[in-house]
């Protein structure tokens, strides 16, 4: 059973509004692989990831997680998800621990967190170097620290698969290094990773395979493009990872 892919997309099409965003893409991520999904803004890379987690409905094709069709997949504690940072801000203050604890809910029965769950939350905070800020409000954190908290939240259930949507966007250099180290440890421990990236950046040495999307189709699937080639990719616009938060795409609705 360990031979079957962790993520499998076959001929997946998806629309936002009535605009086709994915036009039949195939994507397979094997156990222990680290795959980067690359492409320009609007190429469909975030949408592809969001079909995997069921946030965007698929109009054609098949999505499987751990060999189970996505619709019937219930084993969510095996998946850790880091959304684009803009999605996680509530109107009420919340501490770092409170936010990370919600990542552990997939393991907690009836939402009751036991001692083991609290320890897992603390370990996840240690992994991203945020244990000393556990009781601080997430509103008081910098962009990079906030991103580390969201990654800790994804790590809290001790997942086998990590899905990250632009984890380096708007993250300062110090946090980028912490994130790269955290990811390296996870990969060494055998975690499968699917990353949406705008550019390879400091994560490049970790990546086994790159899938490049363009206009909702797979353009390239193979070894990661070298630093030089990456800049030569069609439609590639160079945005530094420490660009201001305003450079991130603005989300206008539930499905955008």
């Amino acid at each position: 059973m360990s031979d079957e892919p962790v993520i499998s997309l076959r001929g997946v099409r998806a629309e936002l509004g009535s605009r086709p965003v994915l036009r039949g893409i195939d994507l397979t991520v094997g156990r222990g692989e680290v795959v980067a999904l690359l492409g320009a803004n609007g190429s469909g890379k975030s949408t592809a990831v969001r079909t995997v987690i069921g946030q965007v409905p698929v109009t054609a094709g098949e999505v499987e997680l751990f060999g189970t069709p996505r619709r019937r997949f219930r084993d969510w504690s095996r998946v850790g998800y880091v959304p684009q940072r803009t999605t996680a801000a509530g109107g009420v203050p919340a501490t770092v621990t409170e936010v990370v604890s919600s990542g552990r809910l997939s393991r907690a029965r009836f939402g009751v967190l036991r001692k083991a769950d609290r320890e897992a939350v603390r370990r996840a905070l240690d992994l991203v170097g945020m244990a000393d800020r556990a009781k601080d409000s997430v509103d008081a954190l910098s962009g990079g620290q906030h991103q580390r908290v969201l990654i800790a939240r994804a790590l809290a259930p001790e997942p086998e698969l990590l899905i990250m949507d632009e984890p380096m966007a708007g993250v300062d250099l110090a946090s980028q290094e912490v994130l790269a180290d955290t990811l390296r440890e996870q990969v060494a421990a055998g975690t499968t990773v699917l990353l949406v990236l705008h550019e390879l950046g400091p994560l490049e040495p970790l990546i086994d395979r790159a899938v490049v999307l363009r206009d909702g189709c797979v353009l390239h699937d193979g070894p990661p493009p070298k630093a030089v080639g990456q800049h030569a990719l069609p439609g590639h616009d160079h945005v530094h990872p420490h660009a201001p938060a305003g450079a991130e795409p603005i989300r206008t609705g539930l499905l955008s």
Binding site: R74, V99, L105, L141
Partner: protein
């Protein structure tokens, strides 16, 4: 305390305490998901329930519960599916609910606009025995949901997309939040009134936020503020012969202003501590204003 010698005041005070607990307990999730005005919308829809209660000579409280629960579910469905003109659909629901209430109560043989006024702005003397039973049962439901499912509701209200990946039944929890808010509206209806109930859901939470950094503390402080203002407002209303709903709401806003002023030195100290601990911090990040415009809340 001669005030406790009157049976109607005992009932009013009991109802007031339950309102003080339940309204902020639900309100905190509405504020967290930026739907602070949802309670106001449900209040409008509940008017049709009150009117129907008079027309069919049913208990207005139970009828209002039924209609406002239906209205809340409808609003949640509009939020899911009505991506384009969702705000227009909600507006029609709100004003249709209000117009329906006025129409039904005037058609009812025993009803008049005077009856309606006590439901709109609250009244102490009209909380009957059967109202108290209904309020207790409904309040128990609200407390059970808002405390028992606090982790799940927190996760869904904080980040719906992430909550889905933790396997939580996001749609069911959203519906439950809407239904619980609707139930709270009818709990609060007799004392605070339908038009002012939303204030008691939102303002104690906003006031508590001036002092707190965690969700748990915000919850506790908001409920404490809620109970304090509903009791003191009810007592003031009795002695000064002023309407209870208006008194309670003005006291709540007073508490907000007081805490905002008190929080200034606290915020300065925290800001200094944060800069000391984190020199490279970006101060423009993540600060969410406590008060928001109407368009934020009803958006889809």
């Amino acid at each position: 305390m001669e005030i406790l010698n009157y049976a109607f005041m005992q009932r009013a005070l009991l109802a007031a305490v339950l309102v003080g607990i339940t309204a902020p307990a639900v309100g905190i999730y509405l504020v967290q998901r930026r739907q602070a005005l949802m309670g106001d919308g449900i209040g409008h829809v509940a008017m049709t329930g009150v009117g129907l209660g008079f027309l069919l000579t049913w208990s207005p409280v139970w009828m209002a519960t039924l209609v406002s629960v239906l209205g809340a579910v409808l609003m949640e469905l509009i939020r899911w599916y009505g991506k384009t003109r969702g705000d227009i659909a909600l507006a029609m629901l709100f004003y249709g609910g209000m117009a329906g209430g006025v129409m039904f109560i005037n058609l009812a043989p025993t009803g008049s606009n005077a009856n309606l006024t006590s439901y709109l702005f609250g009244s102490l003397s009209t909380v009957s025995e059967s109202d108290v039973t209904a309020i207790c049962l409904l309040a128990a439901f609200v407390v059970l949901v808002t405390l028992g499912l606090r982790r799940q509701l927190f996760a869904v209200s904080q980040d719906e997309e992430f909550a889905r990946v933790t396997g939580l039944p996001v749609r069911a929890l959203n519906l439950l939040t809407a239904v619980t808010a609707a139930v709270t509206v009818t709990v609060a209806m007799r004392v605070v009134g339908l038009l002012l109930v939303s204030a008691l859901m939102v303002v104690p939470v906003a006031a508590a936020q001036q002092l707190t950094r965690s969700f748990a503390a915000t919850f506790a402080v908001a409920v404490a503020i809620g109970v304090t203002v509903t009791i003191s407002g009810t007592v003031t209303s009795y002695y000064q012969d002023v309407p209870p709903g208006a008194t309670i709401v003005l006291l709540t806003i007073g508490a907000f202003v007081l805490l905002t002023v008190l929080a200034v030195p606290l915020a300065r100290r925290r800001a200094r501590a944060a800069t000391a601990a984190q020199p490279a911090a970006d101060p423009a990040e993540c600060k969410i204003p406590a008060t928001r415009g109407a368009t934020d809340e009803v958006g889809v």
